[in-house]
């Protein structure tokens, strides 16, 4: 079976608008959570999010293209360009034929729809520019990246709420491993900061009034975040042939469904996802030294995820550093798996495990070794990144360290 490796990373996030800045913030434990500025939330029950800062789309897109792009596409496309440049790949016709773009997004162009509906319903406008449909479609990032680089292989978008990006990355991995593709640009992006969507989250009562404290006993819920992350994936053979830098091997992918409840997660389903990812990767639990947790900081997720980790890793759980980097970049929904895969891959590559910020107090219900507030140097052989979605859909990625 072909080995698949990651040779390019691009990130746009609340803690950095490129992969280097993102990583620097992560290891410093620097949180990007703060007051929401893009929408007036003065009358809402929550006021904070992890917003992207100092990102001007005009610097990245010409006027004609800008008209057709929702912010979730800005983040996805800019991250894809960075990943492709980082990989050093030069496409030729043969490679374009066997390269695809596989992206995840939960909301797609929600900001575009929000604006459209406001004009129709609130302002009573009868007409709107003919841009809403192509801007808002969830596959917009996959389509734009495929057009920009002329990639004509399997290209599509997955939408499974908070697991969207992990499902996308997992499909890209398998398509390369089985030979359908030779190269994939894959990841996810999300732009959830619009009034309608914030109100919808407000009614779910899972968003914290202050900040995101995963696994900490005093946690008060999740914090929404914006962003995108994309990867260049190819076979180990092609990476070696062109002398490319390899960040890590993507070694395994596991999926499961809780078949239980729309919003209450079940540890059996999460555990099954992790177990299948390890089996797919040919990894023993003892080889795993880091878990980038789903860790939303809701009352329900963190104890459930801790139990699931214990079910899979048994007593070895005590030797695994666990962190939820959502404490810094927020919960980016359909982009979460991608941004967190970037954190996981960079952790393996740099022998440094990013911390779980805002950790104040251990919770006996969350019996895992949380990397509290400070990055932890560790040469880890393999790492796992979890995504668990509303609706009980779980997607888990496993990565193996590669010595260049």
């Amino acid at each position: 079976m072909r080995k698949v490796v990651i040779t390019g990373i691009g990130v746009v996030s609340a803690i950095g608008n490129n992969a280097a800045d993102f990583w620097a913030s992560l290891v410093a434990g620097r949180s990007g959570i703060g007051p929401i500025t893009k929408v007036d939330v003065s009358t809402m029950r929550f006021q904070n999010a992890a917003e992207i800062k100092n990102f001007d789309p005009v610097q990245h897109f010409d006027e004609k293209n800008l008209l057709w792009l929702d912010p979730f596409s800005h983040y996805g496309i800019v991250a894809a360009r960075e990943a492709i440049a980082d990989s050093g790949i030069e496409f030729n016709d043969e490679l374009r034929d066997k390269s695809g773009v596989i992206t995840g997004s939960c909301l797609g162009g929600k900001m575009t729809e929000d604006e459209l509906y406001y004009k129709l319903y609130a302002e009573g406008k009868q007409r709107h520019q003919p841009i809403a449909i192509p801007r808002a479609m969830s596959n917009a990032v996959a389509s734009h990246v495929s057009m920009e680089f002329g990639l004509t292989g399997a290209t599509f978008t997955t939408s499974t709420a908070c697991s969207s990006a992990n499902h996308a990355i997992g499909q890209a991995f398998w398509l390369i491993r089985q030979g359908t593709l030779d190269m994939a640009i894959t990841g996810g992006s999300e732009a959830p900061i619009c009034f309608g969507n914030l109100k919808a989250w407000e009614t779910m009562r899972v968003v914290s009034p202050d900040t995101c404290r995963p696994f900490s006993k005093d946690r008060t819920g999740m914090i929404l975040g914006e962003g995108g992350a994309m990867f260049v994936m190819e076979t180990e053979e092609s990476a070696h042939a062109r002398g490319a830098k390899i960040y890590a091997e993507i070694a395994g992918f596991g999926m499961s469904a809780d078949a239980h409840h729309l919003t209450m997660p079940l540890s059996d389903g999460a555990a099954k996802g992790m177990r299948l990812a390890l089996e797919d990767a040919n990894l023993e639990p003892q080889q795993v030294g880091y878990i980038n947790a789903h860790g939303t900081a809701t009352p329900a997720n963190d104890p459930m995820e801790s139990q699931a980790i214990r079910k899979v890793f048994g007593s070895h759980t005590d030797n695994i550093g666990v962190s939820s980097t959502k404490s810094m970049h927020g919960h980016t929904l359909g982009a979460a798996g991608a941004i967190e895969a970037a954190a996981t891959v960079l952790a393996l590559h740099n022998n440094l495990l990013p911390p779980n910020a805002n950790f104040n107090e251990p919770d006996p219900e969350c019996n895992v070794d949380v990397i509290a507030n400070e990055a932890r140097p560790a040469e880890v052989e393999a790492a796992v990144s979890n995504s668990f979605a509303f609706g009980g859909l779980n997607a888990v990625l496993a990565f193996r360290r590669v010595r260049n």
């Binding site: 929408v39 007036d40 009358t43 809402m44 029950r45 604006e115 406001y118 004009k119 609130a122 302002e123 009034f195 109100k199 009614t203 779910m204 009562r205 009034p209 819920g221 409840h261 729309l262 919003t263 209450m264 329900a300």
Partner: protein, 93 residues
């Protein structure tokens, strides 16, 4: 506002939500006894917000797990309007 007591109106909201006879719902009936899970609870709180034109803060929701706890919570919020965020208005686009 109608002349009905808060308790009667709360029980009527529960009865309508669960398609039950109001007489079968007592003050000490719990969410569990009514078969309400967490998501049903959220929807029920929304129905109460509509009925009483109030906004229930997140931390108050945690203490509403039975009919009498809901009645006490609603009465408190009606008496302390300053603890409710005002009805949100869409800001300019």
């Amino acid at each position: 506002m109608s002349d009905e007591s808060v308790a009667t109106r709360v029980i009527n909201v529960f009865a309508k939500f669960k398609k039950m006879n109001p007489e079968d719902i007592k003050m000490d009936t719990s969410f569990d006894e009514l078969g309400l899970d967490s998501l049903d609870g959220l929807n029920l709180i929304f129905e109460l917000e509509e009925e009483f034109d109030i906004m229930v803060p997140d931390d108050k929701v945690q203490s509403m797990k039975s009919v009498h706890e809901v009645v006490e919570g609603v009465e408190y919020l009606l008496a302390h309007p300053e603890e409710q965020p005002t009805n949100a208005v869409r800001p300019s686009a």
